[in-house]
C-alpha cells in the first residue's frame, strides 16, 4: 500500500514509519513545516517544529531508505490553529490546538493532498487504535493508557479515520523507545514533546498578551463582590488556580479557582473548588461514529489525559446533553468532550455550557 508517513523528528513517528516499511508498504515520509520561520534548535523538550527536528526527521527517512519531503503548511497552521487558538481565548473558551491541528491540518489538508497524489493512507505516530468493523473504522484507545491519544483524534470524521493509520496503538511508550534503540534510530532517546508546539516557553498568557489588547476589568466572587482586577479575560481559563493575582485565598481560607469567564462583561468569576464542580454538560458540533442508544451509558473525557467520568447521554443529535454521574472540575467551554464505550470512541462534541444540577437542586 502507498502510505504517506508524517514524520515530526520525534521517536514515535520514527518507529511508526519503520513499522510501515517492515510491513512492506511503499512509504514516503513527509515533515510538516508548521512555522514559516522555524527556530534552529529545540528548546528542551518543548516544541516540535525546529530545523533540528526537520533534520532529525530527514535522518530517520534516510536510515529507513524512504523518500523525504518537507510540506509547508505554515500558512494554514497560522490561520486554522494559531489564530483560532487566540480567538477562542478571546471569546472566553479553552481551545485544544493539537486537536484542531489533527482536524484541520494533518487529517484534512495533508491527507486530502496525499490521497489526491495517489497515497492510500496517512500514518502518524499517535497512540490510538483503528479497528475495522462492518460499520466502518472504529477508533479505540491505545493499549498504553498513559500515552493514549484517542482524545485528540476524537474530533475526526469517519472519512478522516478511513484514511488514517496509527501503527503504535498496540504498544507502550517504553516498548517504542526500546524498539527505536534496537533499530538504531538516533531519536530513540529524544525527549517527548509537551505542551503547545508554537509556545515553546510554555507561557500561554504571555503568548496571548502579545496578540490581544489589554482590557482591564474586574474579578468577582460568585456573589458579585469585586475581589481583584485583570488585564483581559483572555488570560484565564476555567479551572485555573495559579496566576489569579488575588494575593490571598478565599474567605474559607482555601484557594480560589476561575469559575466563569464573561468576555461580554469583561468579567472573571472565581470561587471555591466546590463551586467548580459540574455534573451536566451541553455539547455542540457533535460527531457520532455509532448512533447512541439513548439514554446511553458511557465514559466521558474532557481533556487529553483526563480521567474517565461515568456519564449518561440524554440527547444526542447535532447537540448532546450529558449527565455526569460523578462531578468533574474545571470543564471549560471550547473543550472537547469525548464519549467512550469501553475503549471505543463513540462520539465527541464541543462543550458549550456546563451546570451543577445535583448540587444546586
Amino acid at each position: 500500500m502507498k502510505v504517506l508517513a508524517a514524520v515530526s523528528g520525534g521517536v514515535d513517528s520514527a518507529v511508526a514509519t519503520a513499522r510501515l516499511v517492515d510491513a512492506g508498504h511503499d512509504v514516503t515520509a513527509v515533515h510538516l513545516a508548521l512555522s514559516a520561520k522555524p527556530r534552529t534548535h529545540r528548546e528542551g523538550a518543548r516544541g516540535c517544529c525546529s530545523l533540528e527536528d526537520a533534520n532529525d526527521a530527514r535522518r530517520v527517512a534516510d536510515m529507513l531508505g524512504v523518500p523525504f519531503y518537507v510540506w509547508d503548511v505554515a500558512e494554514r497552521f497560522a490561520e486554522d490553529v494559531i489564530d483560532e487558538f487566540v480567538a477562542e481565548y478571546q471569546a472566553g473558551r479553552t481551545p485544544n490546538p493539537c486537536l484542531r491541528c489533527n482536524e484541520r491540518i494533518k487529517f484534512a489538508a495533508v491527507a486530502e493532498r496525499a490521497l489526491a497524489l495517489g497515497f492510500e493512507k496517512v500514518a502518524t505516530g499517535h497512540y490510538a487504535r483503528l479497528i475495522e468493523t462492518s460499520a466502518g473504522v472504529a477508533l479505540h484507545r491505545a493499549v498504553d493508557e498513559a500515552k493514549d491519544q484517542s482524545y485528540v483524534l476524537a474530533g475526526l470524521t469517519q472519512e478522516q479515520l478511513q484514511a488514517a493509520l496509527f501503527p503504535l496503538g498496540d504498544s507502550t511508550k517504553d516498548q517504542i523507545r526500546a524498539e527505536a534503540a534496537q533499530r538504531g534510530l538516533l531519536v530513540a532517546s529524544k525527549p517527548d514533546s509537551h505542551d503547545i508546539c508554537f509556545i515553546p516557553d510554555g507561557d500561554t498568557a504571555a503568548f496571548l498578551g502579545d496578540r490581544l489588547p489589554v482590557r482591564s476589568g474586574v474579578i468577582e466572587d460568585s456573589d458579585g463582590n469585586e475581589v481583584g482586577r485583570h488585564d483581559g479575560t483572555w488570560a484565564f481559563t476555567v479551572g485555573q488556580r495559579r496566576g489569579l493575582g488575588l494575593g490571598r485565598p478565599g474567605p474559607d481560607g482555601r484557594p480560589r479557582y476561575v469559575l466563569d469567564i464573561e468576555p461580554a462583561h469583561n468579567r472573571v468569576v472565581v470561587g471555591s473548588r466546590a463551586e467548580l464542580a459540574v455534573d451536566w454538560v451541553l455539547g455542540e458540533q457533535t460527531r457520532w461514529f455509532a448512533p447512541p442508544d439513548l439514554p446511553q451509558r458511557c465514559a466521558a473525557q474532557v481533556r487529553a489525559h483526563g480521567r474517565r467520568i461515568p456519564a449518561v447521554l440524554e440527547r444526542a443529535d447535532d447537540r448532546v446533553e450529558v449527565q455526569l454521574l460523578e462531578p468533574e472540575y474545571g470543564v471549560a467551554p471550547g473543550q472537547l468532550i469525548a464519549f467512550y464505550d469501553g475503549d471505543r470512541v463513540i462520539g465527541s462534541a464541543r462543550v458549550s455550557q456546563t451546570a451543577a444540577v445535583a448540587t444546586s437542586a
Binding site: A33, L51, P67, Y69, D72, E112
Partner: protein, 395 residues
Amino acid sequence: MAYLDHAATTPLRPEAVEAMAKAAMDTGNASSLHASGRRARRVVEESREAIAGVLRCRPGDVIFTSGGTEADNLAVKGLHGSRRTVDGDRRRVLASAVEHHAVMDPLVWLEESGQADIVWLPVDGLGRVSAELVAADIESDPQSVSLITVMWANNEVGTTQPVPTIAHVAAEYGIPVHSDAVQAVGSLPVDFGESGLTSMAVSAHKLGGPVGVGALVLDRKAEVVAQIHGGGQERNVRSGTLNVAGIAGFAAAMVAAATERESESSRLAALRADLVQRVTEAVPDARYNGDPDPAGRLPGNAHFSFPGCEGDALLLLLDARGVECSTGSACSAGLAQPSHVLIAMGMDEADARSSLRFTLGHTSSASDVDALLAALPAAVERARVAPGLRRATSA
C-alpha cells in the same frame, strides 16, 4: 533513473577523478617550502594555468575558493568594501533582480547592515536585464555607483545576460563589474579577457569537477577586501590551505569540458529541443519559460510552468518514477519559496510555484528524455487534481 538536474550538480568526469586520485595520494602542503610542498604547489599552479587558459585570463587572476558561493561573496563584499574605503559616497550597487542567492544574499546583508544601497535591475519576461537600462542607471549618478553585478546565465531559466556590453559601459566610468558565471562556464564561450569584467565566479562541480572547489577570477589590478584572514594564501585575499586534489580535479574537468564544449553544447541543445517539443505536445498548456531562442539560453536548460499544478507535487510524483528534476527554488528546511527569478520575470506566485526545471549535462541521453515523457503526463494529471497546502485565495 533519469537524472535531469545537471544544473544542481553534474557527475564527475573521469579525467577529474583521475587527477584528484593522483593528487590526493601525494602528501604536501602547497605552502610548505620543502620538496613535498613544492610538488603540491606545482599541481596547484599547473591547474591555475590550465584554468586560466580555458577562461582566457592570466593565471594570476585565478583565486581558488571553496566554490561559487564563496567566490561571489568575496567579489560582492570585497569589491564593494574596497571601493567604499577609497570613496565613502559610493554606496550604490546595481544588481540584476535574478541573481543567484550567493550574490543576492550578500547584497541584502550589505544593505541591511547599512553598508550599501542596492538597486535591483528589472528583467524582461524572458529574464534578461537591459544593458541600456544599466547605462541609464549609471548615468543618473555615476559617482555613487560602487559595483555592478549581473550573472552570465541564469541558473533557473537559463537566460543569458548581456554581460560584456554592460561591462564595457561600466568601464567608461571606471565601475567594476562582477558576474556569476557558475552555470555558463563549460556550456558557453566565456572569455574573461574579452568580457571587460573585473571579476567572475566559477564552480568546479557544475562542469564535472568535485564539489567544494571553485574560483574567483579577479583582475590583478582590482582591490578587494579579504573575507577570510589567515595564512595569506591566494594573493592574501583568500587564506586557507590549498585544496590540492580538488583544484587538480577542477582543472582536469574544466579542460575536458572546454575540449568538447562546442560539440557537446550543440548535442545538448538538440536534446533539449526534443525535450521541449515533446513536453509541450504531451502537456499542451505547459509554458516554456525563459528565452525560446536557443542563442539566448544555456543549451541544457528547459524550464516550464504547468498551470494548475504545484511544482513540489510534480517533483514528488516524478521522483517516485525515478525522474529527478528541480523546482529551482532555494530552501533551508526544504521550504519552497516562490522563485524570485520567476517573480522578477512578471509571473504570479501560483504560476511560479507550478514550475519545474529540467537540466541536461554531459551524461544525458535520449533515454532520459524518454523516461521523463513516460512519467510526466500522468504526474501532471494527478498533480492538477491534488489540492494545494496553501489557500487558493492567497495565490
